[in-house]
């Protein structure tokens, strides 16, 4: 009975690692292939939340029978990641828009134009 449970847990761990790695690799490909910083940020969001949550869940499940403190820390890590990453992503997006980063040439609509002040753009975004 214990062997069957262990096999099932190993299958779950392997599936979690494979899924998380899939999202990480997709994010890497998106970082290379997408044309401007806003679309790249869309790709980076996949690694920052979904990929890392799945990869942290893998040791959380793997050690749940031997060392419960690891599982507690894993859940804590996922909570911290979900609390902090959207803030950093928001700040980066705001910085890109405020420094007038160029959008892809096929961008048709800029709905933020009337709301956010932009500054003249140079390499480091200083005025």
């Amino acid at each position: 009975m214990a062997g069957a449970v262990s096999l099932f847990a190993n299958l779950v761990v392997a599936a979690l690692m494979l899924a998380g790695t899939f999202f990480m690799v997709v994010t890497g490909i998106g970082l290379i292939r997408f044309p401007d910083v806003y679309t790249r940020m869309h790709a980076a969001g996949k690694a920052g939340t979904l990929g890392i949550a799945l990869l942290i869940l893998a040791p959380t499940v793997y050690f749940v029978t031997t060392d419960v403190s690891v599982s507690v820390r894993g859940v804590l890590a996922i909570v911290f990641q979900f609390l902090t990453t959207p803030g950093a992503t928001y700040l980066l997006a705001h910085a890109s828009y405020a420094t007038s980063q160029p959008t892809h040439e096929r961008t048709e609509l800029d709905e933020l134009e009337a709301f956010l002040p932009t500054y003249p753009s140079d390499e480091f975004g200083e005025e």
């Binding site: 494979l18 920052g48 990869l55 942290i56 690891v70 820390r73 890590a77 996922i78 902090t84 980066l92």
Partner: protein, 88 residues
């Protein structure tokens, strides 16, 4: 079985990290580099998780949750500097 899958995942994560490093080196502007750096830190946290499973030891798992707690501060500081020209 888990060890083989973990090794394959580790190699694939190395590929993802290499793509992030490519964007950091190539990225035309500072914001592109900041986004790629943010992603690179996420990939490295994932690598530590896979290594925990591969070695069967939770020794390095503390690094994971500490990195998730403080890892965003660098990105936030870079973003504020780029937007305002100063951090504080």
């Amino acid at each position: 079985m888990v060890a083989a899958v973990a090794t394959c995942c580790l190699l694939a994560l190395f590929g993802a990290a290499a793509m992030c490093v490519y964007r950091i080196a190539r990225g035309p502007r500072a914001v592109d580099r900041a986004v790629a750096f943010d992603t690179l830190s996420a990939v490295i946290i994932g690598m530590i998780c896979v290594l925990c499973v591969l070695w069967g030891s939770p020794l390095y798992f503390d690094a994971v949750w500490i990195l998730t707690l403080v890892g965003f501060i660098g990105s936030a500081a870079i973003a504020k500097y780029l937007a305002q020209g100063r951090i504080f």
